[in-house]
Structures are given as structure tokens and as C-alpha cells.
Symmetry: C7
């Protein structure tokens, strides 16, 4: 009888099957997320692997424990029944926990964000400091560290992936000469995009989109520029500081 | 006994039934969504097919695993009972996961959107980058990539289907001559719609709908134009830039 | 044994009972919704009928499958138990799906709206393009197509049923002569309602309801006109454009 | 065996018990809602009765169906088990349906509103057009028909029961002579209430309640009048049109 | 066998235990809610008693019905099993009903409000017209009757219990002499509180609390007076009408 | 057999175990909440004790009742099964009740507030009048009594514990001399804190924190003073009345 | 039989396994949270340890109790069944409790905050006074003590970890010379950061980020400074008081 128990305890040898299960993940990952540094992938694989191992260990110990009780010939029914009752009671309360872990698991698998990315998780926005199964840790612009439960993240906005777009809205008084203003902006934004420090950050020709909004008091012109990821805010600030004086010089007012 | 197990493992041959199940889907699809490029349809069918195959495989392995345990003559009751308890506990937590997958499945089947469409999913608005079973990935105008869980999408607004409408609201001061203003707008919008760059984007004669809103300070006139899908924003911006000067020239003010 | 299984598969012959079940529905429909074109009713009956047939088919195949397993003498308990566990897990996640289908079913049975109606479903407002069991498709004024899950529709506002009412609120400065203003409006609205293009749209004598709102700055007078369904917005716009100048001519100001 | 089944099918004779169950309801109704026209009560009783009959019929057929299967000696366990699994899955999704029906049932029993009443159901406000078990249909002032699910109605506001109160708030400039203004209003409102068309609508002496609100800019005086149900809005509009000029004549301003 | 059934039906004699259960309630009530008129208490006890009787009756009939079926020797298992399945399906939908009844039961036991009290139930505010197990009926100041489901009442605000406080906020211009203003108010409020009609309503010396709020434009002084329950609004209106002129006379302005 | 039943009924003697269970609570309480008056603790212990006694009594009577039925040899299965079905149905509805009681229990154990404390419970704010297991009764500044269900209290804000802080925000015009203003405030607040009536209420030296907010129109300076619990509002009002004139005297304006 | 019971009661000796389970936690903690004072870690370990001990004790007593009942040969089925029914009823209500405890457990394990940290828990913001399994106690700036249930904390914002950032937004009139203003700010902020009292609080060179916002009325310049944790608010206040006069001296206005 005990041997059977031991047999079971040795079955962790079966975990070799788990790494095998992880392999396709690793292989599939490159083609799906080819442009990701292998470092981060390695880290993710390790996190997921250790999680699966823990689950297997817990399951085996739990079953083994029940079998031992059976062997020692204790009436197991009341235990199981009360476990069932508790299971219902706890199941309801623990659903958030399970939700957090499952959400974290899938975020890792889908590699939605990594350490260093600037993300909007809903409950908080900032730079990712740590990605764990239950919580994600980010630091916002005020230096506050936010622990966000993964299950509370309904959608992830990642501003550090591939490229970014700096959007600058410029107010003009109602009735301003729009053709003229557009020309002024196009000339100035091209100049600015061609000189440092913005030159290295901007990856495509800036665009003056045109009239974005329209109220009885103001007209809003929008300018957009493609930038390197993470640099959009600096570019936005710089463009604001450069385009407004250009308009003012050309005689445009905001009100 | 083992043979029975093997028999079962070979039953994946039964999966041939699955492609069969997919066939009517493929056939029904054309007539329901006739104007869709077959490429996207093919891709959808493949995604759905692979999903069904995974489900079948998992089910068969799971049952086989239980049967093996039975054969090896281990008392299966405690396992099942604890599985039941865990099932309750996890069932509550995993409901979001199941919800996400089911929602994704049906979105795919109904082909609500495809890569490249501009959609409003609720939690985020932008251009679709990827459609998966659990999450949809979109990129907004600021370049931020949004991972939206399909189960969180309560309604989908797709702005790239069939046609679009550019809506331009123009403010006038209270007491303005509306008949005159309408005439000015009709003349100008017809001109604009007949010249490039708008000519190719506009698919129907523009309409001056009339007085949309009415406050003690302002009257708002609305102009609508049918456009090719995805071009409504450019047309809107262009029309705004063209119609306001026309009104101003004719002596109308906004305030 | 197999014969019994076959017997069961042939029971789809019993589906003849289903069309019978549908008959009272068809008969009850006319008296309840007498003014509905029989075309739409036919379509609804067909949709509902096909749904019921699918349900019956699935149920019979499912039971037959279980019976076959019994016949082949496989231990069915582990399958059922795990199905139960999965049932709980999936039941939670699938509740939205069931909710959507049931809501769609009842919407169809109650004929709350049909293709072409202008409806407010809550998550989106527009013209119905398609009515399905899980989702309703509508197109809003901006041309965006909205897929709304039926279970998310808590209430339906249908603006295309029977008749509609155009409501026009007119601002007057505080202290204006209300009796005079009412007279001016009554005269003008009667004129307008008697001339084309509004004559054909308006189905009842317009009413000047009186002072709707009252602030230290403004008085708001309300005029209502019964119109043909779907024409209320055009009538509203037209009335706004006609009544404001009438008041202005009579010397009233809005501020 | 079949006879037992038939016996059961004849038990609908037992439904005679149901009308009996309805009797106390009818008797209790008069004393509780004595001032309700017996017509509406009859209608309600009929609706409820037909509902109970349907439930009994469905239950008996369901049980009979199961008994037949037993008689034909089919193994009933897998059917019941899968029904249980489906029951869980559907139970979650159908809870809204059950909720709607139960809410409708109790609304009918408590006679919260009837056809023609002006009600505020939360999701929509208007005149009741139809009361059903699952949905209530109302038409708002804009002519839009609203289908509201009964389960979504958290509270009902019925403006057509017993009596109504017209509430008119009048703005005065800060520092106005309140005693004087109150006197002016009292005199005028008494006059108005004594002349047609308001005389027949007003059921009690109007009251000038006094200073309702108090800001650095304005004082708001409130006047309330008890009216016949459904007439409060007309009375309010009329009073507004009559009381403001009275104040103005007496030299009061709103700002 | 039948005798046992009859025995059971006669057990309603056991209901004598229920009134006994109610007795401690009645006894405990006086000490806890000593200042409540015994009339209302009697009424509550009756309501609760009748509820308990109904529950006992329903339970006994239900069990008796099942026992009869047993006696008649019908296979009871399928009935119970389907009842269980329906129980799950209905249990979810009926939870609101149970919630409403339980909430109503406890509100009655705790005597949170009675007919005639002015209460804020959350979904609606007004005077209680009827207290029932499922719903509470109140009538608001506009005469609208509100049926509020007891389960939707998250908190009850009862303004008719023991005493009430009239709170009057008076605006002063920034920089006003606060000591002087306080003195003026104290003198005037004492005068007013000592003369009819407020004398009988006010139960304690009025208090000038001091500066309640503070903006760059205004200072707000707060005066509070303890009044008889239900009279706070009349006192507030009267005080507002009396204190503002006093301040104005003393040379204070609001802006 | 009956003796066993009686035996059970006498087991309330076992309740002696419950007071024993309460003892550690009483002992642990002093060290954790040492500064609490023993009176309130005694009261809490009594409340909790009586609750536990009721639970034990109900449980024993319930089990005894079931055992009696067994002895009388009635088939207990249908009762239990229907109890199970009802248990599910009621369990869903009663969850709010259980939630309220559990929340109340833990609030009592953690002694979050007592009668007389000024608390913010979320749904209502005021002085605690009664603490019960299901509801907490508080009275707000307007004299309204609020019955708040304990389960609805997500967080408790207790303003009467240990100490309090009076926070006074003072507006200054943009561009004011901040160093000068700070000096004026520091001098004045020190004076005020040293004279009655504030001297006894203030427990620590006041602090002029500095510029709290910053708009194009105003600068807001914040002053904070530690006070005895419950006195913060009086101190705030007094400070506001004293500091504004000091600033004004020194020539500062708010706008 | 009794011996077995005693045996079980002695099994608390098995708890030695629990401290063993805690050891890896303690060891893992240093490397994960290396910069944490060992004091707080010790405290956490103690809290978690005592929790686990309580759980083990309760479980063993519960099982022992059931076994005793078995030994005394009482029919245990009705107890268990009613326990199951109650388990469902209570499980729903107790889910909040379980949720609170689990959330608290994980917060402790992840060491999201400790006593003295300034945290934003969502329902309340302030300084942590106590960390317990069910509730966290914090005190806000007004001295109010907040008891926040851990399960209600969806995300934690900790402002006392590692470092903090003081963010100062300065308004300028539209059209101001931004290059000049930036220079003035850079000079002044460098000066301020180099002199006491800010020198010790500021840990990195201050940065003038640039134009943060842009309205037709104002331009907002942002300055950020890295500070020691907990000092950001003092630094912010100080910088506001220092930078505004600098801008004013240089001739800039806010409006």
C-alpha cells in the first residue's frame, strides 16, 4: 500500500511531460512574436513552466494524502463531504483568485507586455516594473507603485510596441484662414522633424490632418507624427512648444 | 483493456467528422457574407477548425487518462470528488475565460470584423491588428496597441463595412437667415464633392439635412455625405475646412 | 440494441410535432400584431422553426451517442462525471451565450423590431440591418455597423411603430410675452403643417404645449406634431427652421 | 401502465383547483385596490389564470414524457444526468428570463400599473401600451415605443394613481422682497385655479410653499397644486405661463 | 397511509407554535422601540404572523403532496430530479424574489419605517403609503406613486423619527464681516424661533454653526435648528425667507 | 429514542463551551484595543455571545426535528431533497442576508465603530445610533435616521478615533506674495490656537502646509491642525472665520 | 475509538510541517524583496504562520467532531445533508469574507504595503495604520480612520516605495515665450534643489519636461523632480511656492 503511495510520489518523474508541453509553446512563440528578444521569451517560458510544476506537485500531494487516509482505513466520506461544502463556500470567494491567475497566465502566454513597457491597464497607467501571475506592478509618473490584480485588467493598452504616434491639437480662433494655417504648420513641422532632437525620434513624415473639431469659439487643427515607441510624449511636448509660436508669428490667435 | 485505451486514442480518426461539420459552415458563409474576400473566410475556417480539433484531442486524452487509472485499478472516487470540488472552485474563476473564448468563437463565425477594419469595441477604438479567440488586438490613433478580451466586448461598431457617412455640424449665430445659409452650403458642398480629392471618396450626392440643434446662442446646421468606408474622417476634415469659409464669406457668423 | 438507437434517430419524424407547436404561434400572432405585413411574420416563423429543429436534432444525437456508449459497454460514469465538472465550468462562462439566444428568441416571438426599423437598443442606435438569434445588426447615422448582443439589450426603443411625434423646443428670453408668442407659433405651425413637404408627413393637428422649462435666463416653449413613423426627424428639422424666424419677425429674442 | 399515463393526462381536471386559487385573489383585490375598475381586474385575473394553466400543462406533459420513457424501459439515467448538466448551463443563462416572468407575475398581482397609465419604469418613461409577463410596452412623448423587460424594472413610478401634484419653481433675483412676492403669487394662483381651464383639473387649494432654493444669484419660490391624475403637466405649463407675468408686473426680476 | 397524510394536514395545529414564536418579538419590541405606537406594532405582528402561516401551509401541503404520490406508488425519482433541475434554473431567476421578501421581512421586524413616514429609499423618496413584503409603496412630492422592490433598498433614510434638523446655508460675499453677520443671524434666528408659526415646530435653541464653505467668491454661513419630525422642510423654508432679509438689512450682500 | 432527543435538547448545556470561546476574545481585545472603554467591550461581547447562542439553539432544534421525523419513521428523503432544491433557490436570495450578518459580526469583532462615533459608511454619513448584526443605524446632520445594511458597507471611515485633523484651505489671488501670506497665517493660527475656545480642542501646534493647488485664477494655501476627535469641524469653522479676516487685513484678496 | 480521536487531537504536532512550509517563504522573501527591513518580514511571517495554524486547528477539530458523532453512532446523514444545504446558502453569503481573507493573504505574501506607507487603496487614501487579513486600516489627511475590506481593494497604489516624483504644473498665458519661460524655470528649480530644505529630499536633477497641456486660454508647463519616498508632497508645495514668483518676476502671467 505504502509503495503505491511512494510510486505516486515518484510520479513527479512524469513532469518530464510538462517541459515537453512547453516546447511547442517555445517553438510557436518565435513565429507568432518573432520580433521579441529571446531573453524575455526565456523568462516567460520559465515562469509558465514553474507554474505548471507547482500545480502538478500540489495535485499529486493532495491525491496521495487522500490515498494515505484510505489506507489507514479512516472513514473518508465525512472529510470529502465537508470538503465539498467548504469547496462551495470557498469556490465562490476564491473565484477572484482563480480569475487573477488565469488572466495572468494568458497575458504571459500572449506576451501582452513586458518589464519596461508603458501600459494603460485601466486601474492604473505607468511603466511595468514586474509581471507576475496574480498581479502586475507598474510605476506611474508620480513615482507611485501600483499593484494591479490581473483579473481586474479588462484591456491592456501598450504604448511601447512597434511604433507610436504623437498627436498635437492646435487651437485657432473661429474664422481663421485655414489654408494659410495649414501651410504654416506643414512648413514648420517639416523643419522641426528634420532637426535634432526630434529627428532620431520621428520615423515618418509628419502629417497635418486638418480640422479636427469645430465650436462656435474655436477651430482645432491636428498634426500627427509617427515616432519611435516610448518617445511620443517627448515629441508631443516639443512640437507643442514649436508649433504654437510659428502660428502666432504668422498672425493667428487662439481665441 | 489497453487495447480499448488504444482504440480510443485512435478515435481521432473520428475527427474526420469535424471537417464535415465545418463544411456546411463554409458553404453557408458565402451566401450570408457573399461580398467577403474568400481569403479572410479561409483564414476564419482554419482558425475555427483548429480550435475544434484541440477540443476533441483534449477531451479524448482526458477520458483516456481516466480509463487508464480505472484499468490500473486505482480507486478513482477521491480523484473525481476532489476534481468536482476543484471544478466548482475553478469554474467560478474560469468563467471569464470561457466567456472570452465563446465570444471570440461567435465573433469569428459571424465575421463581425477582420484585420484592417476600424472598430469601436467599447474598451478601445482603433484599427484591428489581430483577431484571436481570447483577445482582439487593435491599434488606436495614438499608436497604442490595445489587447481587448473578447468577453468584454458587449457590442462592436465596425466603421469599415459597405459604406460610411461623413457628418459635419456647422454653428451659426441665433437668428441667422437659415434659408440663405442652406443655399450657400448646398452650393458649396456640391462643388467640393465634384472636385478632387473628395470626388473619389464620395459615393452619393451630399445632403444639407437642416437645423440639428437649437440653443439660445447657436443654431447648428448638419451636412451629411455618403463616402467609401474608412474615408469618412478625411472627408469630414476636408468639408469642415471648406464649408466654414463659404459661410463666412456669405456673411454668417458663429456667435 | 442498435435498432433502438436507429429507432431514436428516426424519431426526427416526431419533429412534425414542432410545426404543430408553431401553428398556434402563427395564429396568435395576427390578432396580437394584426397590422404587420405577413412577409415579416413568415420570416420570423421560419427562423424560430429552424432553431427548434436544430435543438431537437442536437438533443437526439446527444442521447443516442450516450446510448451507443452504453451498448458498447464502456464505463460511462467517468465521462458523465467529468462532463458534469466541465458543465459547471462552462455553464458559468456560457451563460452570456444562453442569455443572448434566449433574449433573441423572445424578441423574435414578440416581434419587437424588424429590418428597416429605427431602434435604440441601448449600446447603439440606428437602423436595423439584420435580426439574428445571438446578435442584432444596426447601422447608425455615421454609417458605422453595430453588432449588438441580444442579451445586452435591456430595453428596445422602436421609433418606427404606428406613429411618431416631432418635438420642437423654442427658447425665449425671460419676461417675453407668452400669450403673444403662443399665438405666433400656433399660426405659423398651422400654416407649415398645411403646406408641402410637411403636409404628407404630419398626421394630426400640431399642438403648442406651452412653457416646458423655466430658468432665470430663458423660457422654453414646446411644440409637438404627430407624424408618420420615421419622418419625425425631418419634420423636427423643418419646423425648427420655420418657427424660429416667425418668432424673430414678431420681435422675440432668445436671450 | 399506459392508463396511468392517461390518468395523468386527465388530471388537468385538477386545474379546477387553480381557478379556486384565483378566487381569493379576486376577493382580496377589491378591498386592497377598491377603487380600480373591475374591467382591468378581470383582465389581470385572466392573464394570471392562463399563465398558471400553461405551467400545469407543461409540468404534466414533462412528467408524463419521463414516465413513458420508463415504461418503454429505456435507461433514463443518462438523459437525466445530461439534462442536469444542461440544466446548470442553461439555468445561468435563463435566469434573466425567469426573473422577467416572475417580476411580471408580481407586477400583475400587485397591479402596479395598467394600460394608459403614465409610468416611469427606469429604462423608459411614457404611457403604458401593453402589460405582458415578460415585457411591458410603453410609448414615450416622442412616439417611440419602448419594450422594457420586467426584470429590469427596479422600481415603478406611476403618475396616474389617485391624484397628482403640479410643482412650479419660480426664480427671483437675490434680495427680492419675499413677503411681497409670496402675496402676489398667492393672489394670482388662487385666481388661476378658480378659472377654466384649470378649475376642473385642480382638486385642492394651491399652496405657495416658500423659498425652495437659495444661491448667491437667485431665490427659487415653489408653488404646488393638487390636480387630477395625468393633468399635472398641463397644469404646470399653464401655471408657469400665468405666474411669471404676474411677478414681472409686480416688478420682480429673475436675475 | 392516508391517515398519516391526514395527520400531517392536521399538524397546522402546530402553528400554535408560531404565535408563540411571535410573542418574544412583541415583548422585545417595546423595549427596543418603546416610543412606537402599539397600533403599528400590532399591524406588523399581524403581517409577520400571516406570512409565517402561509409558509407553514405551503410546506405541509408540498410534503403531503409528495407523500401521497409515494402512497399511490408512483416512481417519484424523475419528478424530484426534474424538480432539482428546474430548481437550479428557477433558483437563479427567483433570487430577486427571495431577496425582496427577506429584505421586506427584516425591514418589518426592525420597523425601519411605517405608513406616513417620509423616507429616502434610494430609488425614490417620498411619503410611505404601504409597506408590504415584496414592495414598499411611496408617493413623492409630485404625487407620483413609486413601487420600490424591498431587495433594491440598500439603505433607508427615515426623516420622521424622533426629531429632525433644519439646515439653512446663507451665502455672503467674500470678505464680509463674519463676526457681525453671525451676530445678526443669531439675533434674528432667536426672534423667529420664539414667534409662531415656528415656535411649536422648533424643539431646541437654534445654532449659528459658522463658516461652512469657502470659495474665492462666497462664504457660506450655516444655521441649524432642531425641529419636530416632518417639520424640517417648512422650518427651513421659513428661516430662509426670514434670515436673508435680516442680512440684507444689515448691509450684507451675497456676491 | 425520545430520550436521545431530550438528551440533545439538554445539550444546550454544551453552550458553556461558547462563553469559553468568547473568553479569549475578551482577553485578546484589551491588548489590541487597549484604549477602549471596557463598557463598550462588554456590550460587544454580550452581542456576540447572544448571537452564538441563537445559532447553536437553532442548529440543535433543526437536527432534533429531523431525528424526530426519523424516529416517527417517516420517509425523510423527499423532505431533504425538496429542502435541497429550496436551499438552492433560497440560498441565492438569502446571500445578502448572510452577507449582512457576517459583515456585522466582523465589524463587531474588529470594533470598527461604536455608538456615538461619527462615521462615513458609504451609503450614509452621520453619528452612530445603534450597531446591530444586520444593520447599522446612524443619524445624519439633517436629523434623518439611516438604516444601512452591514453588507453594503464596503469601507468604514471613523472620524472619532484617537485624534482628528482640521484642514482649512484658503484662496489667494494668483501672484500673491506667498512668503508674506504664510507668515500672516502662521502668526494668526498660533494666536487662535492659544486662546479659547480652540485651545482645549487643539492637541498639537498648527501647521501652514503651503500651496495646495494652483490654477490660473487662484492659489490655495492649506493650514492643518490636530484636534481632539469629533472637534475637527468646529475647529475648521472657527479657523475659517479667523484666518480669512487676517489675510484680508494684510491686504490679500481671493480673486 | 476515543484513542483515535485523541490521536487526531495530538496531530497538531503535525503543524511542525507548517513552520517548515513557512521557511521557504522566509528565504525566498529576502531575494525578492531584499531591501525590506527584516523586522517587517518577521512580522508578516508571524501573521501568516498564525493564520495557517488556526486553519489547521479548525479543520482537525471539525473532522474530529464528525468522527465522534460517528462513534457515538448517531445517524450523520441528515446533519451532513442540512450542512450541505446551509453550505450552499452560506457559501453565497460568505464569499465576500473568503474573498477578503484570500486577498489579505496574498497582499501579505506579496508585501504590497506595510504600516506607515502612504497608499491609495481605492475606497480610501492615507497612511497605513494596521494590516490584517480581513481589513486594512489607514488614516487619511483629515485624521479619519478608514477600515477597508481587503477584497474591495482592486489595486494598491503605494507612494512610499523606492522613490517618488514631485510633479508641478505651472500655468502660462497663451502666447507666452516658452523658450524663455523654460530657461527661467530651469534656472530657478536648479537653485531651489540645491538649497535646504529641498536638497536632502531631492535625489536627482530636476527636469523641465515642457508643454503638458494646451488650451485656447492657457499653456501648462510641467516640472518633475525625483524625491525620497514620502517627501513628494512637501517638495511639490515648496516648488509651487518658489517657481510661480520666479515666473512672475520674469514678466509671465497666468491668464
Amino acid at each position: 500500500m505504502l509503495r503505491k503511495v511512494i510510486d505516486r510520489i515518484t510520479t513527479p518523474g512524469k513532469e518530464g511531460k510538462k517541459p515537453g508541453l512547453l516546447k511547442p509553446l517555445r517553438e510557436r512563440a518565435p513565429q507568432a512574436l518573432g520580433n521579441l528578444i529571446s531573453e524575455r521569451r526565456e523568462q516567460r517560458a520559465k515562469t509558465i513552466g514553474s507554474v505548471l510544476k507547482s500545480i502538478v506537485t500540489i495535485l499529486i500531494f493532495g491525491i496521495a494524502f487522500l490515498e494515505i487516509l484510505l489506507v489507514v482505513n479512516i472513514n473518508i466520506t465525512p472529510i470529502l463531504t465537508s470538503a465539498g461544502i467548504l469547496g462551495v463556500a470557498i469556490g465562490f470567494g476564491a473565484q477572484n483568485l482563480v480569475k487573477d491567475f488565469l488572466a495572468g497566465m494568458f497575458m504571459l502566454l500572449e506576451d501582452q507586455y513586458g518589464v519596461g513597457d508603458v501600459v494603460d491597464l485601466g486601474p492604473a497607467t505607468g511603466t511595468v516594473e514586474a509581471v507576475a501571475l496574480r498581479t502586475t506592478t507598474i510605476r506611474d509618473t508620480g513615482g507611485t507603485v501600483w499593484y494591479v490584480r490581473n483579473g481586474e485588467i479588462l484591456r491592456v493598452g501598450n504604448s511601447s510596441q512597434g511604433f507610436a504616434v504623437a498627436v498635437v491639437d492646435l487651437p485657432l480662433s473661429y474664422g481663421a484662414n485655414l489654408a494659410e494655417a495649414t501651410k504654416v504648420l506643414e512648413r514648420r513641422v517639416a523643419e522641426v522633424a528634420d532637426t535634432e532632437p526630434l529627428k532620431t525620434d520621428i520615423t515618418a513624415k509628419p502629417e497635418v490632418l486638418g480640422v479636427e473639431k469645430f465650436t462656435p469659439e474655436n477651430i482645432t487643427l491636428r498634426v500627427t507624427v509617427k515616432t519611435r515607441p516610448g518617445r511620443q510624449w517627448a515629441v508631443q511636448r516639443n512640437l507643442r512648444a514649436q508649433l504654437m509660436p510659428a502660428l502666432e508669428e504668422a498672425g493667428f490667435t487662439a481665441k
